[in-house]
Amino acid sequence: MTRIDLRDVAAGLFICLVGAAFVFGARSLGFGSARNMGPGFFPTMVGLVTIGLGLVILVFGLTRAAARIEIEIRPAAVILVAVLLFAVLIANVGFLPAAFAAVLVASHADERPRLLPTLVLAAATAVAVWLLFAKILGLPLPAFRGTSPWI
């Protein structure tokens, strides 16, 4: 048990931050008047209410005891690295290596798998998804590419 509800405190802070970011970002946009609103009017109003609700959640969280938060780092980190690799590789090397790497890495999210079946799964998935998207659905998905990023 923790003396304050860390979940609600974190949630409240997060919500306040989002609201504040938008209110801050809307300062440079025209506010206008109720009769003729500028682009900043609506986001500012919504942002202010968001900050208010975030504060209420935060205060509730500070006045209540709750169970600890248990965060599983490994699955989260591994899956996110898999997506990152996919993004970097598809921009520079092409779809097949990107998909292969993503499946290979993602397989390690729970525990270390046996290597050979995982390699087979990664290769088979990359080819099958490429055939489905590029050949059957006809989307432009280069299997391999040169060194031109951001396409």
Binding site: D8, F22, A26, F42, V46, T50, L80, A82, F95, L121
Partner: protein
């Protein structure tokens, strides 16, 4: 008769070979994803969203709708066999479904859920056919202020039935509205909150947002969950599926009550199948002659909620299609897909795109018949599929998500966006912030802002316009009552606890 001519038009477009194919693809994908624990219909719809950009609006909507109600059928299979709900609306099905499976009666449970689902869905479709045109006609009288008020009611309703506390739900709706304002302002053309990225000038990608919040973060959350589940060992034969005659007869009244509850709640904007299934279960338990049987394998306890969630899944299309107001987060995604295709949901959809509207309604009947076949004669396939280890499935799903997001705009930026949103989404789950209201806010936000600005422009800046129009005023009164009720129900236990502890000190 107009209705018959319309339905004929609908079946004509729903029975074309390509539409039939996409309907089958949709309901099968829905079954697969619904049956897999951890990922629900939202992830399934967002996975297929990129595909819909390359087909006609009717085929796209038929397929996505099929995924949606297919997942309602599939969700109950994992509930019964593994005690892990495949979708949120099949959580209550675990309560009595899994005890039945433990008693060796999984077949009967699966049969009853299918029949109840089919029954609920069929009535839901009839309600949709009858009610949608009437509502569309009424919605023609709606001005901008009224639309704003309906959306407000829908958002508050969605927030108050979300998982976690209602105040967090409302906050998530607002965060969604803020995220929805990224991109070009419709009226002035000014770019807002793009942080200098030209890729954001069209707004955040809906697919990236949905895949990040419901694909990536759900997979991360379910990897460890799925490992602990036990597998169902028995075999399911057709003969073992048939319930005794008396049992079947006892389920007729619960199914009917469930259907009525589901049809009503589904049609309200913001609520949807999950709430319907919970209420249907509670009603059955309360009206039962032997309430102690519930939770130990009462067939009525699965028949009523399954009828309710499937009826609600169908009637949720009424506000979505006729007013453009989604009944649930999945509906919001389907709405987004429609708008990408240039079909503006709203009261004019029936006159402007009758082949889309009636085609989709007709496809519901066809899709539900397909699901009946998939669930009774072919049940063995699904039972076997649940034996595939999750460790082999989720890496493939991660790959599909990345590919899907990338292929919408051939944009590496969107894949990075999924990465960021997935990480934030996982964090949000850990602090009990439900991402579903966020998505509803994201889709409704821009429409709300547009109607808010238009209403005040017409009234020359006078805020009373929202209370002067009868439709808008009564909707806002209902919204205020709802806010009051929810606030009271959140605060009352706290205050009571405080006064009790205060007395204790004295």
């Amino acid at each position: 008769m107009d209705l018959i001519a319309n339905l004929a038009l609908g079946f004509q477009s729903a029975l074309s070979p390509s539409t039939l194919l996409f309907c089958l693809l949709g309901v099968t994908t829905g079954m697969v994803i619904g049956a897999l624990p951890g990922i629900g219909s939202l992830a399934a719809v967002s996975l297929l969203l990129p595909v819909t950009f390359y087909i006609t609006p009717t085929d796209a909507l038929v397929m996505l709708a099929g995924v949606y109600y297919g997942a309602e059928y599939g969700g109950s299979i994992a509930s019964i066999l593994l005690n892990l709900p495949g979708t949120t609306s099949s959580i209550v099905t675990c309560l009595d479904g899994h005890p039945l499976a433990k008693q060796g009666r999984a077949g009967v449970a699966l049969f009853m859920t299918t029949i109840a689902s089919f029954f609920g869905a069929s009535i839901g479709i009839i309600v949709t056919v009858l009610a949608a045109p009437a509502l569309a006609e009424a919605a023609l009288a709606f001005g901008p202020a009224d639309y704003f008020a309906v959306m407000m009611l829908g958002l508050i309703a969605a927030a108050s039935v979300s998982q976690g506390t209602p105040i967090k739900g409302v906050a998530m709706v607002l965060v969604g509205i803020l995220l929805g304002s990224v991109g070009s302002d419709v009226e002035t053309g000014a770019t807002r909150f793009t942080l200098g990225f030209p890729m954001l000038s069209d707004g955040l990608s809906l697919v990236a947002l949905a895949m990040g919040l419901f694909g990536i973060s759900e997979i991360i959350a379910s990897i460890r969950l799925a490992r602990g589940s036990e597998h169902y060992q028995g075999r399911i034969t057709l003969r073992s599926m048939l319930p005794a005659r008396q049992e079947a007869r006892d389920c007729v009244a619960p199914m009917t009550r469930g259907t009525v509850i589901g049809s009503l709640l589904g049609a309200l904007p913001g609520t949807g199948p999950t709430l319907a299934s919970f209420i249907a279960y509670a009603v059955e338990k309360r009206t039962a002659r032997q309430p102690e049987r519930f939770g130990k394998g009462a067939l009525e306890g699965i028949a009523a909620p399954e009828a309710a969630n499937n009826a609600a899944a169908q009637t949720a299309f009424i506000p979505t299609l006729t007013m453009g107001i989604p009944g649930s987060a999945t509906m919001a995604l389907i709405l987004g897909a429609l708008m990408i295709h240039g079909v503006q949901p709203g009261p004019l959809i029936m006159t402007k795109h009758p082949e889309v509207f009636w085609g989709v309604i007709a496809s519901f009947w066809i899709g539900n018949l397909m699901l009946l076949v998939l669930n009774i004669p072919l049940i063995g396939i699904w039972v076997r599929m649940l034996k595939v280890p999750y460790a082999l499935l989720y890496p493939v799903i991660v790959c599909l998500i990345c590919t899907g997001v990338y292929s919408v705009n051939n944009s590496v930026f969107d894949v990075f966006l999924v990465l960021v949103i997935g990480a934030v989404g996982y964090g949000m789950r850990q602090v009990e912030l439900d991402p579903a209201p966020l998505l509803i806010g994201f889709i409704l936000g821009p429409m709300m802002e547009e109607n808010f600005r238009r209403a005040l422009l017409l009234s020359r800046g006078d805020f009373w316009v929202f209370l002067e129009r009868p439709i808008s005023a009564s909707l806002l009164v209902v919204t205020a009552l709802l806010i009051g009720l929810v606030t009271w129900r959140t605060l009352a236990p706290r205050l009571r606890a405080r006064s009790v502890s205060g007395m204790h000190v004295e």
